[in-house]
């Protein structure tokens, strides 16, 4: 299974719930908004965490492409 993530930076307001759920995939930029750390294929072992990041983002700014 292939997985990538897309971040809608305009709707991101820096809740950082994504980084709490999947710290290997989401970090923070200098103003505390999300920064995608893995822009290509997400390794399989991180898929569950990425799904959690998506389902914890209050702004629904994360899209998973599979």
């Amino acid at each position: 299974m292939n997985m990538k993530v897309l971040l809608d930076y305009d709707s991101c307001h820096g809740h950082q719930m994504c980084a709490i759920a999947a710290p290997d995939v989401f970090g923070s930029d200098e103003i505390g908004n999300a920064k995608v750390l893995i822009t290509g294929e997400i390794p399989v072992e991180l898929h569950t965490k990425v799904r959690r990041a998506e389902s914890n983002c209050p702004e629904r700014a994360i899209t998973i492409i599979e």
Binding site: M17, I31, P58
Partner: protein
């Protein structure tokens, strides 16, 4: 004050956020409204307001900043006299700002609150928590609210601002005057003026004797479009740091300790699975979200069947949204490893809490340090716990023994 003296007959048409029972435990009232025919309740008390209680409604209102403005953000109308005098132009940016100014009002302060920037406060916060516990650990009893929680955020903020820790009691008193005793108009005005006067002094002393790079100095030197930011902005941000950063975080720490005192199984779970901490903090914030904010309706609009008029006040009950069963399974239960948690304790949309990373850090360190030093404790008498409510909900007296 008379508004709180009449008993509430129908909560969907006459709620009273300052009624003693509601202040103590607002959740049954929120549930009653949320599951009624009118999930957006209305009251005539305190010059009138609307109270949406469903997650989707609260979030929609928070997102629609053009219709629901931040001209006023307190759950009560401003005290008479607030718009007079030399300080009238001082707000609490960015929380009281609307676009377009909101953008730069917020953008300028964000870098100091990014996760990587607030991490530097962790060791100091831990030392501070330990020092507070040292004061009472040998006694076997303590007030988890007033001996512990209350002292943590105010000292962290003082350090961040670069002002002396000796101001703690005054800051605490002013913030309570501004947010908790808000049915007392005179105290509100006095608290606001004290805050502004204090920071005018801090700004003047820095102008006369430039300091190392503290937060206030940085603010004073910030330029927007080639011009120094106005003094009202500097004073407003300082005001905001106190009113947004102290009462809120201290209430969250207090509610979490109140919870832990009654749930040995959760203390054990965290002891055995320290990896759970980040998720646990989010879950506790969901269940005990301390903050309710207001919006002012810009123009007449029908929202979910409610005829809202320009100038109406809408209370965004984030604590109610966080317990909506349409969004959260078993919403009243604390599930420390909850997987799906789009909670809005920090709000939603453009005004979403800028200080959330600092708040989380303080909450986690305060709870971790307490549980390490005092792993077993319980409430002395559940009925003697007292609460603040309305704008900010949390325990103010919470005696525990260990």
């Amino acid at each position: 004050m008379t508004d709180t003296q009449k008993p509430v007959t129908d909560i969907t048409t006459d709620y009273d956020i300052f009624a003693p029972d509601f202040v103590k435990n607002p959740y049954p009232g929120y549930t009653e409204i949320r599951e009624s025919q009118c999930p957006i309740a209305h009251t005539e008390r305190y010059e009138g307001s609307w109270l949406p209680t469903r997650y989707d409604d609260v979030v929609a209102i928070a997102q629609e900043y053009e219709t629901f403005t931040s001209r006023q953000i307190l759950v009560m109308p401003p005290a008479a006299g607030r718009s007079e005098g030399p300080y009238a132009a001082v707000g609490a940016p960015p929380i009281t700002s609307d676009p377009p100014d909101h953008h730069w009002h917020r953008r300028l302060i964000l870098p100091v609150f990014a996760p990587q920037a607030v991490a530097q406060y962790e060791p100091g916060t831990r030392d501070l928590c330990n020092a507070l516990i040292d004061e009472f650990i040998d006694k076997g009893v303590a007030d988890a609210a007033s001996d512990y929680a209350q002292h943590i955020p105010v000292r962290v903020i003082s350090k961040m601002l670069g002002v002396p820790l000796t101001m703690e009691d005054e800051f605490t008193d002013w913030v309570r005057g501004a947010l908790e005793n808000i049915t007392d108009a005179e105290r509100r005005i006095k608290s606001f003026r004290s805050i502004v006067e204090y920071f005018i002094g801090e700004v003047q002393s820095r102008a006369a004797n430039p300091r190392e790079d503290d937060f206030i100095t940085q603010l004073m030197n910030t330029e927007v479009e080639g011009k120094k930011v106005p003094i009202e902005y500097v004073l407003g941000v300082c005001n905001l740091m106190l009113v947004a950063g102290i009462d809120t975080t201290w209430s969250a720490i207090g509610s979490c300790l109140w919870h832990m005192a009654q749930h040995p199984e959760h203390r054990k779970q965290l002891r055995e699975n320290p990896d759970l901490w980040p998720t646990a903090v989010e879950e506790l914030l969901r269940v005990y979200a301390p903050v309710t904010m207001a919006r002012i309706v810009d123009h007449d609009i029908e929202f979910q069947g409610c005829p809202m008029k320009a100038g109406d006040r809408v209370l965004m009950a984030f604590p109610a949204a966080n317990r909506d069963p349409r969004q959260f399974e078993n919403p009243d239960e604390v599930i420390l490893d909850r997987q799906n948690n789009r909670h809005v304790a920090f709000g939603s949309g453009i005004h979403r809490c800028a200080g959330s990373n600092l708040a989380r850090l303080e909450l986690r360190v305060a709870l971790q340090t307490w549980l390490e030093r005092i792993p077993e404790f319980e409430l002395i008498d559940p009925s003697s716990v007292t609460w603040a409510g309305g704008q900010v909900h949390g325990p103010r007296k919470c005696m525990v023994k260990f």
